[in-house]
């Protein structure tokens, strides 16, 4: 309550005469609050570090470590680690380490892209449903239920057969499988937000619908959405591997961790460990990092909400 205000390093206004309403202690924006509690979360830090590492690995790595990723040499296929090939070569004769960097780029791109697609679609959908309410809401949400009731793999495989696997189409396929969760989430959020007093206040001032949405609902729903994005990225990257496992991964010259891993897994019994464990580690660690971060973000935002 009113206590504890100073709890976070008060920094009083420099006022000669204290105003009737009392002084105001500065704690910075709610963002700073969230950030602070985020920083207090060890797992979150771990996640951030891991993530940064793999971003650098994937995008900066190739400038440091050069390898020919355009022409594979079948006569050099699946060699174990050796001079010149610190992680050996894959079944097409590409240098595995370099491949992993390339794969990392794509995986992260796809993850981000599909998460964005899912989130944008889902958010709009959920927001519309939540705002419209009544029958529209009913219909939109039934559609979501339907989506949730169709086996994901079914959709993925159908779509994968229909569309050629490019980074974009891939992101689309996954994104379009993932928008349902955020849709539900955002709808719930909107339903609670739209009855908040400050929204009523804005209405009482004569705010238009669009203003209510753009200035109050969206900014306040954003936190939840952002948290969701991180989880979505994690899931998306996981999905790439499943799609790869089902044989619809990306093709030369593209590659991503997902299908590298699934290709590798075929080699599990052949003892080509260098095609499995390194890339497996990359994928799992990255996914985990995103989950850590998302989890921490959620708590952080809760903190902001709890802070009253």
């Amino acid at each position: 309550m009113t206590m504890g205000l100073g709890g976070l390093g008060p920094e009083t206004d420099l006022l000669l005469s204290e105003p009737e309403g009392g002084v105001v202690y500065s704690e910075g924006s709610s963002f700073r609050l969230a950030l602070r509690s985020f920083m207090e979360n060890r797992l979150a830090i771990a996640g951030a570090v891991i993530l940064v590492f793999f971003v650098l690995f994937s995008f900066v790595g190739p400038f440091v470590y050069h390898s020919n990723q355009s022409a594979g040499d079948l006569l050099q296929a699946h060699l174990p680690p050796r001079q010149g090939h610190p992680l050996g070569t894959d079944t097409s004769g590409f240098d595995e380490l370099g491949r992993m960097m390339k794969g990392g780029q794509t995986a992260l791109e796809i993850g981000l892209l599909s998460a964005l697609i899912a989130t944008v679609v889902g958010t709009l959908w959920g927001a519309i449903a939540g705002l419209a309410g009544g029958v529209v809401d009913g219909i939109l949400m039934r559609i979501v239920d339907i989506g949730l009731s169709i086996p994901t793999l079914f959709i993925i495989l159908i779509l994968a057969d229909r569309y050629n696997a490019t980074v974009l189409s891939f992101a689309l396929v996954i994104g379009l499988n993932q928008w349902l969760a955020p849709a539900r989430l955002v709808r719930g959020e909107v339903l609670t937000l739209r009855v908040r007093d400050y929204v009523s206040a804005a209405r009482a001032m004569g705010a238009s619908r669009t203003r209510l949405i753009s200035r109050h609902l969206i900014p306040n729903a954003l936190g939840v959405v952002i948290v969701n994005v991180t989880f979505q990225i994690a899931d998306a990257i996981l999905y790439t591997s499943v799609v790869g496992f089902l044989g619809f991964g990306l093709n030369y010259p593209n590659v991503d961790w997902g299908d590298q891993l699934s290709d590798g897994v075929d080699q599990l019994l052949n003892g080509y460990w260098w095609l499995i464990y390194p890339v497996g580690a990359c994928l799992i660690l990255t996914v985990m990092a995103f989950n850590f971060i998302g989890d921490a973000l959620r708590d952080a935002i809760d903190v902001r909400l709890r802070k009253r």
Binding site: S70, A71, G72, D73, L74, L75, Q76, A77, T91, S92, G93, D161, N164, A165, L246, G247, F248, G249, N251, Y252, P253, D263, D266, Q267, L269, N270, G271, Y272
Partner: protein
């Protein structure tokens, strides 16, 4: 015996055993393309016992009656059904896809009257379970039932997978049985005898005319020569064959002339059990008692079983090759050899988008692509040596009577430069790693060719099957080579079925403009490897709509002329003219332990021949 299937489509290697296999240096065999060694019969035969072999999800028996409808016309149904019902002619002698007379009910056919009449005399030793001997009537019965099945057109091929309108039985004017063990066919045209024997007569499987001529269970035997009755009978048999759960119990299927009888059938998984048929009249009666087909969800699962030593006979897929040493240590013999047929990367001669049609019409372009394909590297890197180079529809191995003399020389060996020169000498500005474009449009010499505008590029999409992995690796090889002469190849993985369903001009004309190149595998050929229906203009399996006067003529000769070398000529022409880029022919690899038998009875597996009756369990296993 795959011969009789008249060529079933084959996913790149993926049919039955994904057929790729690297030969690590343990390849002691001298024959080209063979993998591993073929041990001589050894050990002391144990009487009785059980021999297990795998059936894999998607390639399990689903039909028992020897007139296989389209949906069930697979080599697996054939192998299954031929254990019970012997075909008139048995194919494959070891790994050679030729008629195996000792194992055939029919003796060599005699052609007369300008190749318009065929006379076949049958081996009298074969008996049905009820004691009746397998005779000419049984053949006529089959022919009548076949006619009933495909006429009046219901879904012709749906009722008989190997049916091609105009061919058997339409081309049989009259069939008669002058004596108990002799039948005569009067044909509508004069056919090339080899063609007729090896693609038509080979379809015949005598049926028990004295017990199956019913239209209901336990009904009276009808006069099947009356088409109406024949139809009733056909429908009845069809219906019965649809009830998988009754396979082991239905009296119909108890009446067999093969080396085995069916005793158990799990309609859930199609796993089944057969026992030796003492009444079998063939040269070799089984010495062991039980033949058991175990079901597996995937070839991976199947191989896991091999690794665990659970199977007497197993398949080895390309993915598993590095583990061959391991299973050898378990006591498995491993042998592989390419099956007769070819794999090819198909050009679509119809796609007009981006002027593709005009480009692919140019022989020099097809040659350039052929030069970009590195068969040796593929054989080594992808198949680890367990494949044979193949430059045309009739490769050097397996050896048949029809291998053309030039089969083992590659007219378009791997060479980036040659490819590059071919292009630049035809008016293209080759930009390695970039985009090669046409700078000399026009149809004259040294120009790109008719209908190819200046600035045109050579980019195209190459659809390949997502399974097995080798398909992707081969396509990647081509793509990365093409990149070096500025051709941007975009490989795209699809399911085998999607490709054969969508990217097949005769079947899906509406998709003519949707694809340029595809690689889904190829065809297992019959013993008589003409490419009739595959490369002749308007052929029902001419996926890319390749059309070439000369080719048409040669293919026609293979079917109708009496020229014994027609097929060779056809093959060597196509080899040079490139209706498609022909790919290496992967081995089918098998592993067996604890059992033995004459080498041929194992090597014929690679031709889809399945003669377990020759095997026996060796003591100590």
């Amino acid at each position: 015996a795959s011969g009789s299937s008249g060529g079933t489509p084959k996913a790149a290697g993926s049919s039955g055993s994904s057929s790729q296999a690297p030969s690590n240096n343990t390849n002691t065999s001298t024959t080209v393309g063979a993998y591993g060694t073929l041990p001589a019969a050894s050990g002391t035969p144990v009487k009785g016992g059980t021999i297990t072999y795998p059936i894999i999800n998607g390639s399990t028996p689903t039909y028992i009656m020897p007139i296989l409808p389209g949906a069930d016309s697979t080599v697996y149904n054939q192998q299954f059904e031929e254990l019970l019902y012997r075909p008139l002619y048995w194919f494959d002698v070891g790994n050679r896809p030729v008629i195996n007379y000792p194992l055939s009910i029919g003796k060599a056919p005699v052609y007369s009257d300008g190749d318009k009449t065929v006379t076949v005399t049958m081996n009298p030793n074969y008996k049905w379970t009820d004691g009746a001997s397998v005779d000419a009537q049984d053949v006529l019965f089959w022919i009548d039932e076949l006619r009933a099945a495909v006429h009046p057109v219901k879904t012709d091929a749906a009722n008989f997978g190997n049916y091609t309108p105009g061919d058997f039985p339409d081309n049989v004017d009259k069939a008669s049985a002058p004596s108990k063990f002799t039948f005569v066919l009067h044909l509508t045209h004069a056919y090339n005898p080899n063609w007729f024997t090896e693609t038509q007569l080979n379809l015949i499987t005598p049926l028990p005319s004295t017990t199956w001529a019913q239209d209901k269970a336990g009904g009276t035997q009808l006069d099947y020569t009356n088409p109406a009755n024949a139809k009733k009978i056909a429908n009845f048999l069809e219906a019965q064959s649809g009830k998988l759960s009754t396979y082991a119990s239905n009296p119909l299927w108890k009446d067999v002339d093969g080396p085995f009888t069916l005793t158990k059938f799990d309609s859930g998984t199609d796993a089944n059990t057969m026992t030796a048929n003492p009444a079998y009249g063939g040269p070799q009666k089984p010495v062991f008692q039980t033949l058991q087909a175990l079901y597996f969800a995937s070839s991976t699962a199947q191989f896991d079983a091999v690794r665990a030593g659970k199977l007497d006979l197993g398949e080895v897929s390309s993915d598993n090759l590095p583990q061959v040493p391991i299973i050898k240590r378990l006591g498995y013999n491993v042998y592989g050899y390419p099956g007769l047929g070819f794999q090819y990367t198909v050009f679509n001669f119809q796609d007009k988008t981006n002027h593709w049609k005009n480009i692919v019409d140019q022989l020099y372009f097809r040659q350039a692509i052929a030069h970009l394909q590195d068969e040796d590297a593929i054989i080594k890197g992808v198949y680890g040596g367990a494949a044979a180079a193949a430059y045309g529809p009739v490769p050097a191995v397996p050896a048949t009577a029809y291998v053309p003399s030039d089969a083992s020389t590659n007219p378009y060996p791997y060479s980036i430069q040659t490819a590059s020169q071919l292009l630049s000498s035809h008016g293209w500005k080759v930009v390695p790693g970039g985009t090669t474009t046409c700078i000399k449009p026009g149809s004259g010499a040294g120009e790109c060719g008719a209908g190819i505008p200046a600035g045109q590029n050579l980019n195209f999409t190459d659809y390949y099957t997502n399974d097995p992995a080798s398909a992707g690796l081969q396509t990647t090889q081509l793509a990365s080579a093409a990149a070096q002469v500025g051709i941007k190849v975009t490989p795209v993985a699809k399911t085998f079925n999607f490709i054969v369903d969508q990217y097949d001009d005769p079947i899906a004309p509406s998709n003519n403009n949707k694809w340029q190149v595809e690689f889904y595998g190829g065809f297992t050929e019959g013993a008589y490897p003409t490419t009739d229906t595959i490369f002749n203009t308007g052929g029902s399996n001419n996926e890319g709509d390749y059309s070439n006067k000369q080719a048409d003529k040669l293919i026609n000769d293979s079917k109708f002329s009496s020229n014994p070398n027609a097929v060779q000529d056809e093959a060597s022409y196509l080899t040079k003219n490139l209706p498609a880029v022909f790919d290496p022919n992967p081995d089918l690899i098998y592993a067996w332990k604890g059992i033995s038998g004459p080498p041929d009875s194992f090597s014929n597996l690679t031709q889809y021949g399945f003669t377990p009756e020759y095997w026996y369990l060796t003591s100590g296993s």
